[in-house]
Symmetry: C2
């Protein structure tokens, strides 16, 4: 099959389309012919050598895709010929991918194969952290105050819509007036320009839950922005990993800090997330509460250009790679 | 009534028995004649000016007691004449105390008024953090690995027995071979002398849950000692409040850090904790799984001596003050 490989591990832009061996499904895995692969920030990190795939996973970049099942010997899950979305530990930038059967989902009602290729990673990230870890679910989320850092990004724009649909009050940070306006359209009601404003000063004691992608740089501010019983969920460390922490406010305010990654979870944990997201989030996509904005789709051979586009910071919504028709 | 007051706020030993005005029960509160008041480390902190009572609470020291109901106009809860244990925001070192009705509990089966006076604070602390926050409950706790720092202390010795009764594997730290032997008798199976061993090195990646009382000093070691999905619950900061934190291990291991205090919780939260502890923990006291060791009981007038005894570090079990007969 054809797949993207990185020719020079010291050069993150050396992504080329080459012939490689077809993947062989392992125990509990099915084989999918890839239609569209989503491009995620984690892919850029992997190309830079910072985010290696978990042991045993494909070395090929790509954490999600859509496609058609071409082999399934597991005795469960989607039949050969079914169209599916896949949450991957790696291997998405390729014509074929082997995926644990529990990490496949039906296309959300109303979405095409092309659109589904770049929605599962953000949907599962948003749901596992906000719905499952922080407990913002139908029936409990109503009226909760949530801060989403980077509200116009891939994960952020999905999370804002999802939280709004669940009845939360949503605050966001973003780097420009246009991006904040986009967040407002998605359902955010408190808009903070992180280049001009100090979010902690704006929100002190306001947030029941914060979805953070900055790590060290925002740790102190996030603690300050939390309300009593507040939960900080850290999923990215774009602002570094090492920080000073003052534990004193954690105790009387009963705060919690939680770190997670989707990719490093065991297969069973991922299957649980996909199933819970299909149950709780797919209906919100089907009824239009969450819309999926694909900013641009590149041919697979242009993976390097797609990475450069995401890196530019000019993207609002998701980027994707068209693999086969 | 007679109560302990602190004559000189700069001298934590200036605790004297004096006549003060009787407390007047507020909305939803009942009046209790105190039999025995428990002595807690928080009381020592309060006498040093480090742990002020929450707004609206009595300035008198004392976070728990046992006694007899002498007035109840709330229309619910225990009748006048009933013997109860009380979780207090303050006011225990006195002949009378006003307490929200939801913060009273029946005496655990088999325990006297004298014993009940020093069990509720540790029981509610252990249960709210381990049972409620960390989810170590009947049915879910079995086989979980839990590290209790200061396993022979007031909270620690209760927690070790409770966790053992729930089927957990328990590790402890303590400062001497005798104290570790006491922890073994209570049900701990991994014994770590913190003066001679590095607990993080002994336990690296072992603990599903850690109950911490050291704060900053142990933060790095606690993170290292946690297993994937591990939870660190910090309830004390005997080792300071400010630390360096490396967030990097939190994400792939999906760790969480949670701070709590019992005393600062709203009245409803405390009532919920007391009720849940009575339901889940009182039976473990009744059936002998948890025994309550009162190290020594001082007359109320000797509160300063009781504080000095707790401060000496020579105590194994709880200290109490006998208030009335
Ligand atoms: N742990 C997990 O399981 C997991 C899963 C998926 C993603 N992630 C992480 O989540 C983050 C977002 O991923 P993505 O795919 O959504 O990437 P993305 O679309 O490239 O979004 C990056 C976001 O970061 C925002 N940002 C940059 N500097 C900021 C600052 N100082 N304050 C606030 N926001 C700032 C950007 O906002 P502007 O565009 O307005 O500057 C943008 O919204 C990445 O760090 C990624 O690694 C983690
Ligand atoms: N947040 C809350 O709601 C809450 C409620 C109750 C208590 N607390 C806190 O919990 C802590 C314990 O309270 P307590 O009433 O049980 O006090 P305690 O009976 O005086 O116990 C103090 C404990 O600290 C241990 N310790 C001292 N230095 C240590 C070290 N370097 N490593 C490990 N353990 C060490 C002692 O062990 P050795 O005797 O072996 O030296 C002892 O077991 C206090 O900090 C208290 O403020 C918090």
């Amino acid at each position: 099959m054809k797949a993207i490989t990185q020719k020079d591990l010291n050069d993150p832009t050396s992504l080329v389309l080459e012939d490689v061996a077809d993947p062989v499904p392992g125990e509990g895995e099915i084989l999918v012919k890839v239609h569209t692969a989503g491009v995620n920030r984690g892919d850029l990190l992997q190309a830079r050598g910072h985010y290696p795939p978990p042991p045993g996973a494909s070395e090929i970049i790509g954490m999600e895709c859509s496609g058609t099942v071409v082999a399934n010997d597991t005795g469960e899950g989607p039949a050969v010929g079914s169209e599916v979305g896949c949450l991957l530990a790696g291997g998405g930038y390729a014509e074929l991918v082997a995926v644990p059967v529990g990490q496949t989902a039906p296309l959300p009602e109303g979405l095409s194969l092309a659109e589904t290729g770049s929605i599962i990673e953000v949907a599962c990230t948003a749901w596992s952290n906000l719905g499952m870890a922080a407990g913002l679910r139908p029936g409990t989320a109503e009226g909760k105050k949530v801060l989403v850092h980077g509200g116009s990004g891939g994960v952020g724009s999905f999370a804002v819509q999802m939280l709004h649909a669940l009845g939360c009050e949503v605050a966001v940070t973003a780097g420009s007036a246009e991006k904040l306006e986009y967040c407002r359209e998605l359902g955010a009601s408190k808009l903070i320009n992180y280049r001009e404003q100090d979010f902690a000063e704006e929100l002190k004691g306001w947030a029941d839950v914060i979805l953070d992608i900055m790590g060290a740089k925002y740790l102190k501010g996030n603690i300050r922005a939390l309300a009593p019983d507040g939960q900080l969920v850290i999923i990215g460390m774009q602002g570094g990993t090492k920080a000073e922490i003052n534990l004193a406010p954690l105790l009387p305010k009963r705060l919690s800090i939680h770190g997670t990654t989707l990719r490093a979870r065991p297969v069973e944990g991922k299957a649980e997330i996909v199933a819970d997201a299909v149950e709780n989030v797919w209906p919100l996509i089907a009824d239009g509460s969450i819309t999926h904005r694909v900013h641009e789709t590149f041919p697979l051979a242009e993976a390097a250009q797609a990475h450069a586009a995401l890196d530019s910071g000019e993207v609002t919504g998701k980027l994707a790679l068209r693999v086969t028709d």
